[in-house]
Amino acid sequence: MDAATHTIGPHIFEIGSIADVKQEIFGPVLQIVRWSGDPHAVIDQINALGYGLTLGIQTRIDSRAESLAHRARVGNVYVNRNIIGAVVGVQPFGGEGLSGTGPKAGGPFYLPRFCGEQTITINTVAAGGNVTLLMA
């Protein structure tokens, strides 16, 4: 750590349980827990934290990756890679719960949220009659 330059090197801590993580630490600090048994239970504990932005899954069991992702309430799931660097239009970015409202930035549902919508219904028979129907 260097207060003059505001640098803090990487820190790694092992903690007792997932529930011990109370808050996001916005710096180079990693906390580690160990698990055993059913990985789905781990996902449940992660969900219980209330946030839902990114999740990494590292496994070679494809069906497991699929079912864990399905169970997780997070916006961006990454399997067998890092979990940063979402690409516009490729990995639309954004989460749920304490992580945000959505819609995902860089995704197909983002822009409509910025818009008002209007329908126009025109009675085309007001001037005379139903030309389309009669001429068909």
């Binding site: 903690i15 996001e24 070679r60 069991i61 992580s99």
Partner: protein, 881 residues
């Protein structure tokens, strides 16, 4: 970790300045290079004769196929393109390292569940498949839900058998588990031919920690000692006639990367030199394996440093060399350069020519980085013709090269024989242990293809991996892919439907078209943003130059009154802007995107200076901003087109989207350009007016971004930027009566304050889009590859000093692999360079300001006190800064 010491701006921070690139930049237009290669190879080759020479070999191999256990035979039955082959490959990659039976069962069930192993071929592997793998399919529980005890017992047996099958596969590719075993095996194989040589390869993943590097060093050292001992029996033999060693530089240093050049030169070079000295004393061949494209220039720096030592301390050594990859478009220039170095230092080299083993990952990397072209050829035949042009170049430079041609391709081999005869140059052939056995059997039997049937005197060196089967996995998968690829010679040889004429067809032609889009075209119709390879001098120079000149503006904070004025002005401009056709609004975004692309160096420099981004992060961020502009331009045109709706006759129904009014965009300092631009562009292009407030730490880059949009045609009143604190200006904007929507990225806490402020307002209900933080986790089970996990974790948790909302906070490790992974993570984290971000070597930059520093420090202290109570596998390093 390493703290970078030099506060002065100097990208390499030391006196070893590299001013020029040794080779042309790697991303050049392919076809011109291919034409040159084809012309130079065609000038020295007679292809019909090559076909005549190679035809008997391949015919004989087909008439008398390799043994059932050979890779070729196996992949014929289970091609990688089919689920069975893929399952086999994936089991081979992972199964042997899984420590616990429950997970091994789940993995086996998962992979076998997808495949149909009830093959009908004969031979041992398919018998194995019928009896073991086929059986396992029937008895295994469904992937992740092992049923009762009986199922489990059955499953264990099946998994044990599958493990044995994979081990059998692995055995084909390792010569021995130890160097002693491998040497004994080599000796026994040599009984069949005096002309067999070996080059031993000590297996393993690249080093992630210094401890890994030390272990690999010890294993190379031990191997060379044993080779020296063996060679002492026939001391008069030169390196051409004795067994040698192949080394990977990535195994000998945890940060063998261009950006860490100082460390590589100071720490790696002396290590490799120790190995070289031993090899020189024993007069054996030591080859530096070729690795990824972005390490080529660096490897040449290392190579030259070593050559200097060779010249000074053991000029008589003729066994030093490196591998050259013909699939790189720079290979011919590389050979010229290496030849020039050899002459300069007066050292005769043994150089191995390969096509190259990382083709797929080079292609992926170039696409991900948005590079201008591929650094490797995109057609198999182009790699082949490059190989031949390079071979000719090596053979012509007899004074400095003893070429070693590593290939299993009969056509390539026949062409080598033809050229070598023409140039009257000595050489050797090389193959991988367990591969190319059929073709080489025929060459040995028939001589050099000149028609004479006497036994060949051509030397062949076998590249022979040494190590435990567990360490073989990555190598094994490479080989499976290589053998399984449709374009591969070995694959086509084993496929009887491929005609021999096709198999031996001339590669000396130019494929004008390609199915592989350039990196810029992978997202068509949208253009991908162009990136920068920071290892390439000509690409990074403009960035460094921009850093030297760019100024960070420090605008004064706006007042609440100015904020209110901006809202009113924007509101007045709204209607006119809304009525600008969407196509025009979209065009302005695209124009801004092009301008930003052109000014990428300046924006990167600004991000490094103002937001303390590392260079790599800065490039990614500018690209993201460009992508947002282009993506939202396309999206707006898509969604703003009127949608005709169905209904009764006599009525027209149409749905249209339009801007809502003035949006307030509040963005954070951690992506001061990309997130800022994303919010603003989305609001603007849908026909809204915008008042944007960048983070108080990073207003300068935002102001630059806004001027770009103004220059692209967005009216000044419709887009305004207001700088200042969130508590004051931000709050004033949100509370303003004219707000039609708020888009915010930042903390959950502030998002809630905004939400409350909006709710408290009279008037319309205002929508809020909030993107906030996360306690992002990664779950790792025992099938994952620890090295791969370490890479992903280090990048996710520590890159950008963890100041990303996506960053990893919580790593959940399966208990069976936790100790190993934690140990590796500590070791890998220790190798990161912490410091000022203008240095190219810096991995972890500063926190954004003193508040952030104080906050994170407090957390670290708290965790130190809590964490200390817990049992830790490596207490020495845990929690240490």
């Amino acid at each position: 970790m390493i703290y970078s010491a030099n506060p002065e701006f100097s990208p390499f921070g030391s006196d070893i300045k590299r001013i020029i690139m040794r080779l042309p930049q790697p991303y050049r237009e392919e076809l011109a290079i291919v034409r040159r290669n084809v012309a130079s190879a065609a000038a020295v080759l007679d292809w019909p004769q090559i076909i005549d020479a190679a035809r008997p070999w391949v015919t004989a191999v087909r008439d008398n196929p390799p043994p059932f256990w050979a890779m070729e035979s196996l992949l014929k039955e289970y091609p990688i393109s089919k689920p069975e082959g893929l399952a086999l490959m994936r089991l081979a990659e992972a199964l042997l390292r899984v420590p616990d039976s429950a997970t091994a069962i789940a993995l086996t069930a998962d992979q076998l569940g997808r495949a149909n192993f009830d093959g009908t071929g004969d031979g041992m592997m398919s018998r194995l498949s019928n009896s073991v793998i086929g059986l396992s399919k029937k008895t295994l529980p469904e992937a992740d839900h092992p049923s009762g005890l009986f199922g489990k017992l059955g499953a264990k047996t099946v998994v044990a058998a599958t493990v044995r099958a994979v081990q059998l596969l692995a055995k084909q590719f390792v010569l021995g588990q130890t160097i002693e075993e491998a040497l004994a095996e080599a000796k026994s194989q040599r009984k069949e031919s005096d002309y067999l040589r070996f080059s031993f390869d000590m297996l393993g993943e690249g080093a992630r920690t210094m401890e890994d590097a030390d272990r690999y060093f010890a294993s190379y050292e031990h191997a060379i000692k044993n080779l020296a001992k063996a060679h002492a029996a026939s001391p008069t033999q030169g390196p051409e006639d004795s067994d040698g060693i192949s080394i990977k530089l990535s195994a000998l240093h945890p940060r063998y990367e261009d950006a860490q050049r100082d460390r590589v030169m100071n720490e790696l070079v002396p290590r490799v030199w120790q190995l070289c000295e031993m090899a020189a004393a024993a007069q054996i061949n030591l080859t530096i394996d070729a690795e990824e494209v972005d390490r080529l220039e660096l490897s040449l720096d290392v190579f030259e440093a070593l050559l200097k030592q060779v010249q000074a301390k053991c000029p008589q050594w003729r066994g030093f060399g490196l591998a050259l990859q013909a699939y790189q478009t720079r290979c011919l220039e590389l050979i010229e350069h290496v030849g020039a170095l050899a002459r300069q230092y007066n050292v005769r080299l043994m150089c191995r020519l390969v096509k190259g083993a990382y083709w797929d990952s080079e292609i992926k990397r170039a696409q991900e980085m948005g590079l201008p072209a591929y650094p490797v050829f995109t057609h198999k035949q182009h790699s082949d013709s490059s190989y031949l042009a390079c071979a000719a170049s090596l053979l012509k430079q007899k004074d400095v090269f003893f070429p070693q041609f590593a290939t299993h391709n009969a056509g390539t081999i026949a062409a080598i024989f033809q050229m070598a005869k023409q140039f009257d140059a000595p050489f050797e052939l090389q193959r991988l242990h367990g591969m190319g056995t059929g073709v080489y059997r025929e060459i040995f039997r028939s001589g050099s293809g000149s028609g004479n049937r006497e036994k060949s005197t051509q030397t062949v060196r076998i590249y022979a991996p040494v190590g435990s089967h567990g360490d073989l996995l990555a190598y094994l998968v490479r080989r499976l892919l290589e053998n399984g690829a449709n374009s591969s010679f070995v694959h086509q040889l084993s496929d009887d439907t491929v005609d021999i004429d096709e198999l031996l067809a001339t590669p000396l032609t130019v494929a004008e078209t390609t199915d592989l889009p350039l990196p810029k075209d992978i997202l068509l119709p949208r253009v991908n943003s162009a990136g920068v390879d920071l290892t390439v001098e000509s690409m990074r120079a403009p960035l460094l130059a921009a850093y030297a000149s760019v100024q960070v503006a420090h605008p004064a904070d706006a007042s609440a009154q100015q904020a209110a004025d901006a809202m009113r002005t924007a509101h007045a401009a709204f209607t006119a802007w809304r009525d600008v056709p969407v196509a025009n609004r979209a065009m302005m975004l695209r124009r801004a995107a092009d301008a930003m692309q052109a000014e990428l160096p300046r924006f990167c420099a600004l991000l490094v200076k103002e937001a303390l981004k590392t260079w790599g992060d800065a490039v990614s961020e500018v690209r993201e901003a460009i992508d947002f502009l282009r993506y939202y331009a396309d999206e707006a045109e898509r969604i703003c087109a009127p949608i005709k709706l169905p209904g009764p006759t006599g009525e027209d129904n149409v749905l249209r989207l339009h801007g809502r009014g003035v949006w307030v965009c509040i963005s954070p300092w951690n992506f001061p350009l990309a997130i800022f631009m994303g919010q603003v562009a989305a609001a603007l292009v849908t026909g809204n007016a915008v008042v944007a407030k960048p983070a108080e730490q990073t207003p300068a880059v935002a102001i630059e971004a806004v001027s770009l949009l103004h220059a692209a045609g967005v009216p000044v009143d419709a887009l305004q930027v207001i700088t200042g604190l969130g508590e004051t200006v931000g709050a004033a904007l949100v509370a303003h009566e004219k707000v039609a929507g708020v888009v915010f990225t930042g903390s959950t806490q502030v998002a809630k304050i905004i939400q409350r402020s909006l709710a408290n307002k009279d008037g319309p209900i205002v929508p809020l889009i909030a993107e906030t933080g996360g306690i992002n986790a990664m779950l790792v089970d025992s099938t994952a590859l620890p090295e791969h996990v370490a890479d992903g974790v280090v990048q996710s948790a520590f890159r950008s000093a963890g100041q990303r909302c996506s960053a990893l906070r919580l790593l959940c490790l399966h208990e069976e692999v936790a100790d190993k992974v934690i140990h590796m993570l500590h070791g890998a984290a220790k190798e990161l360079t912490v410091g000022a971000t203008q240095h190219l070597a810096t991995d972890v930059g500063p926190l954004i300001d003193s508040d952030a520093f104080a906050g994170i420090s407090a957390h670290v202290e708290r965790l130190n006190s809590v964490g200390a109570a817990l049992p830790r596998p490596d207490s020495g390093a845990t929690g240490r800064g």
